[in-house]
């Protein structure tokens, strides 16, 4: 603690120290109250008054503190109840012993004062005083007799003879002084004892008055310790009646000391007896003041002690509240090197440790959060769906791709029970059944290809499952990685068909021309030479061979076209223009079709090869034409702008009024030879799909409830084209 703090604390204690000093002064005065010898005796009432004033000040301070304590208790401040308890304890501890000491002290002092007074002592002192007075009276009579003898001796003398006679008589009668006063106390003659005090001692008026009244005066002088005798001196010689003879006789030497002692003791005893009740009252008053001051100081000390104790405890309490609220950066000043200081020191060490631990935990949490965010980011960017199931089959987590692959509704809240998932997504039954089948502690990793029937399409999933412990949940979870391999399998099939087509074009096309040439040669050579019947047979056979070879060539060309990977010449173009251009070709001639169009407003360009696009539209129209063999063909074209993976696509939809796509070929509609039509190679839609994919687009087919089949081709919009936001429609 800084020296300034000690100084401030010392100054704060100054009034208390002053009051304590005053208390000691009062005690000192009480000890010396029986005598007037104390240096502070003259100021005794003022010191008592100061004590009462100090008492009132302390009482006022106490009332003030009690009032503030009551307010603190009402406000439920920390430490207020402790202060009240401490004050009560201090008062309970200080008042009983103080009262006991007060009562015993008062009783003891009263008995002590009473013990000073004793009837026998008082009687003895009275007797001693009476003896002294009797002896003194006898001395006064003796002195009077002696003085009368001296007066008689001087009566016949006058003038110088009288004065000289005084010197003789002083020694003869043992007087200290013999003086003859004239009128107005003029000194007519005086004589002192040899070796005695030469100071003339005049009688006062009252003594002279008594002498004239009684004819003599004989009295003891307690101050000079002699007996003064005054007699009117008649001088027969001079006839003067105004002269006064004064004779001073000393008290007997032995009597002088004894008489003084007796007188002092008698007067001292008398004073004490007179002051007896006052002494007791004074003691009671001083003791009461001391008691009150002690008790009030004890209570004030209780407040002071409580404040010193409560301040760090209050700080400790507030700091504890803040620590409980999560603020660990709490360091309290150490009040002193005592138990409380040790407690505060331990608290500081604890908060420091908590702070360090909290910081470490926060760092760990941040790292975990970063890892979790990284993992979530990773999972969200995975092309595979990742889902996890709990012990009871509930779906715990799912990344975005999984939701997209599996078709979770947006309203599905995780975790979700299996029954809830089944009710929202019935197509997921095979997946959930597979997961259920893999539950159990013995199952570790599993791989399974699962087909989901979603409407008219079949979705093929490759699922890989594994059991992983989850410390947060306290259980094992089954993590399933889901890959949609539908397109992959489709691509594999298409690749196989492409290889077949290439081999057919290469292996089959080469012998066809020799076959055709051979058949035509046989026809030319033998048709005219053979008999009619044989000639007809030859004609039919060669015609059949040539036609079939033509058919084979046509088929091989188609396969060659399918397998061909032409160099695209991309250019910006309006798909609606291509559609209307190709459709116009079909609207001429006998077999006209009815075409309706609904193009997107401000249709963007697409980057496409115009020739391949024409072939695409042509194949679609031709496919519809072949599907509707009888009746009037109606085609409806419409286009719209859509977003796929944050990229704009132009979606071209063609709807016909045909019988629709049979369900049995829906899954392999775009594969070669996937056709139910009596005519056609079965490669038209395969080529459409191939051209679409060459341009980075997709194609899907569906059956419309009102009309026949519907094909939707989505081609990316040219990148320079910036579609307006209001035209975008997220699917």
């Amino acid at each position: 603690m800084a020296p300034q703090s000690y100084l401030v604390r010392g100054l704060r204690q100054l009034p208390l120290i002053a009051l304590l000093a005053l208390l000691l002064v009062v005690l000192y005065l009480a000890a010396g109250a029986t005598t007037s010898e104390s240096a502070l005796a003259a100021n005794y009432p003022w010191i008592l008054g100061a004590s009462v004033a100090a008492l009132i000040i302390i009482l006022a301070a106490l009332v003030n503190r009690l009032f503030r304590l009551r307010q603190r208790i009402a406000r439920q401040e920390p430490g207020a109840l402790f202060t009240r308890r401490l004050v009560i304890v201090f008062v309970a501890l200080s008042i009983p012993p103080a009262i006991i000491v007060f009562a015993f002290s008062l009783g003891f002092l009263t008995r002590s004062v009473e013990s000073w007074f004793n009837v026998e002592v008082e009687g003895a002192l009275d007797d001693a005083l009476s003896i002294g007075q009797i002896y003194l009276e006898s001395q006064q009579k003796v002195a009077l007799d002696l003085t009368r003898q001296i007066a008689d001796d001087l009566a016949d003398r006058d003038g110088e003879a009288r004065v000289r006679r005084l010197g003789v008589l002083v020694d003869r009668y043992g007087a200290d002084e013999l003086t003859i006063f004239g009128a107005g106390l003029t000194i007519l003659g005086t004589s002192f004892r040899q070796g005695g005090d030469l100071t003339l001692n005049f009688p006062n008026n009252w003594e002279l008055f008594l002498m004239r009244d009684n004819g003599f005066y004989s009295g003891a002088d307690p101050t000079e310790l002699h007996v003064r005798v005054l007699l009117p001196l008649e001088s027969r010689a001079i006839g003067s009646e105004d002269a006064v003879l004064q004779a001073l006789f000393p008290w007997p030497e032995r009597y002088e000391g004894l008489a003084q002692n007796v007188e002092e003791q008698y007067e001292s005893y008398g004073t004490l007896a007179f002051l007896r009740s006052k002494l007791e009252q004074s003691f009671a008053l001083v003791l009461s003041l001391v008691l009150l001051l002690s008790v009030l100081l004890a209570v004030l000390l209780a407040f002071s002690t409580a404040r010193r104790l409560v301040r760090p405890m209050g700080q400790l309490s507030q700091a504890t509240h803040r620590v409980a609220g999560g603020d660990f950066a709490q360091t309290l000043p150490i009040p002193a090197q005592d138990d409380l200081g040790f407690l505060v020191q331990s608290f500081n060490a604890m908060t420091q440790r908590l702070s360090e631990t909290s910081e470490a935990a926060e760092r760990s949490r941040q790292e975990t959060e970063q890892q979790r965010n990284y993992l979530q980011g990773l999972l969200s960017r995975l092309s595979s769906g990742v889902i996890s199931f709990g012990d009871t089959g509930e779906l715990i987590t799912s990344n975005r791709i999984a939701g997209s692959i599996l078709g979770f509704p947006e309203t599905l809240d995780l975790p979700a029970q299996a029954a809830e998932i089944r009710s929202h997504c019935p197509w997921l039954d095979p997946l959930l059944n597979a997961v259920d089948g893999q539950r159990g502690e013995h199952v570790q990793d599993w791989v399974e290809e699962i087909s989901l029937e979603r409407g008219e399409q079949t979705q093929i999933l490759m699922c890989r499952g594994a059991r992983l412990p989850d410390s947060a949940l306290g259980q094992d979870v089954q993590v399933v990685v889901v890959d949609d391999v539908t397109n992959l399998i489709q691509a594999q099939r298409e690749a196989a068909w492409g290889e077949v087509a290439r081999r057919m074009a290469h292996e089959v096309k080469n012998p066809l021309t020799p076959i055709q040439l051979s058949a035509e040669r046989l026809r030319r050579r033998y048709l005219t030479t053979l008999p009619e019947e044989d000639a007809q047979l030859l004609d039919r056979c060669t015609t059949t061979i040539v036609n079939q070879v033509q058919a084979l060539k046509h088929m091989v060309n188609a396969f060659s076209e399918y397998a061909r990977a032409p160099q695209l010449r991309l250019e910006p173009l309006k798909l609606s223009s291509i559609v209307e251009e190709v459709a116009a070709l079909y609207q001429s001639g006998d077999n006209q079709l009815q075409v309706t169009t609904h193009w997107a407003a401000d249709e963007p360009n697409i980057a496409a090869d115009s020739g391949r696009m024409r072939q695409l539209v042509h194949n679609l129209i031709k496919n519809a034409q072949e599907a509707v063999e009888e009746g009037h063909l109606e085609l409806a074209f419409r286009s719209a702008l859509v977003n796929r993976a944050d990229r704009p696509f132009l979606a071209l939809t063609l709807e016909d009024n045909g019988p629709g796509i049979p369900r049995e070929i829906m899954d392999r509609l775009f594969e070669p030879y996937a056709t139910t039509k009596p005519r056609g190679t079965g490669l038209g839609l395969s080529i459409v799909k191939k051209i679409t994919e060459e341009h980075g687009g997709t194609i899907r087919a569906s059956n419309s409830a009102q009309r026949g089949a519907a094909f939707t081709v989505e081609i990316p919009v040219e990148r320079r084209e910036k579609p307006r936001p209001e035209e975008q429609r997220s699917l």
Binding site: A33, I99, N204, P222, K278, Q281, L285, S288, L292
Partner: protein, 185 residues
């Protein structure tokens, strides 16, 4: 706490109520300063009429100290009057039980006078005939006056008696001021 306060108040009440039989009186009956000649001389008569409580204390060996104050004051127009000089003297009256004499001792000279009766002692105590030095200056023009009073000095009493004496009218004996103008020299 209440009990202690009760004890204190009881003690104070007892002290205050003790000895209220009669009230004493001190009165300056005459005073003058004779400035003729080389010096000034104060002549005054003071009547000391102590109460029975005071006399009882005297006869039980408690010496009584009386003081008289003489003030030379100057009148001022806008302020209260100023004190130019203050002279204070004291004398102690005691009773000697052995000789049954009253002794008056003057504090200034430390001389004592012995009197056979209380009346003679009080009369001697009340007779003031003392030379005083007023320190008058020729340039003093403002009207000046003298005043005198006497009182019983309670601070010289034994400590146990002081507080009761302060609280008792028997003991709170003090004369009023006796005032007279200063005669021009």
């Amino acid at each position: 706490m209440f009990r202690v306060l009760t004890l204190v108040s009881l003690a104070v009440t007892l002290v205050a109520c003790s000895g209220t039989t009669d009230m004493g009186e001190i009165r300056v009956t005459r005073a003058s300063v004779d400035t003729a000649g080389t010096g000034s001389r104060l002549r005054a008569s003071i009547r000391y009429d102590f109460s029975d409580s005071v006399l009882d204390a005297l006869h039980h060996g408690v010496p009584l100290t009386v003081e008289w104050d003489l003030e030379l004051r100057q009148k001022r127009s806008w302020l209260w009057d100023g004190t130019r000089r203050r002279i204070q003297q004291a004398a102690t009256l005691s009773f000697r039980s052995l000789s049954e004499r009253y002794v008056v001792t003057y504090s200034l000279t430390e001389q004592s006078q012995v009197f056979p009766s209380l009346g003679s002692a009080l009369q001697a105590l009340g007779t003031v005939d003392e030379p005083v030095f007023l320190d008058l200056k020729p340039e003093d023009e403002a009207p000046m006056y003298l005043r005198m009073r006497s009182r019983l000095d309670l601070a010289s009493l034994p400590p146990p008696l002081q507080l009761p004496a302060l609280m008792s009218s028997d003991w709170r004996t003090r004369s009023s001021w006796f005032q007279w103008p200063l005669s021009p020299t």
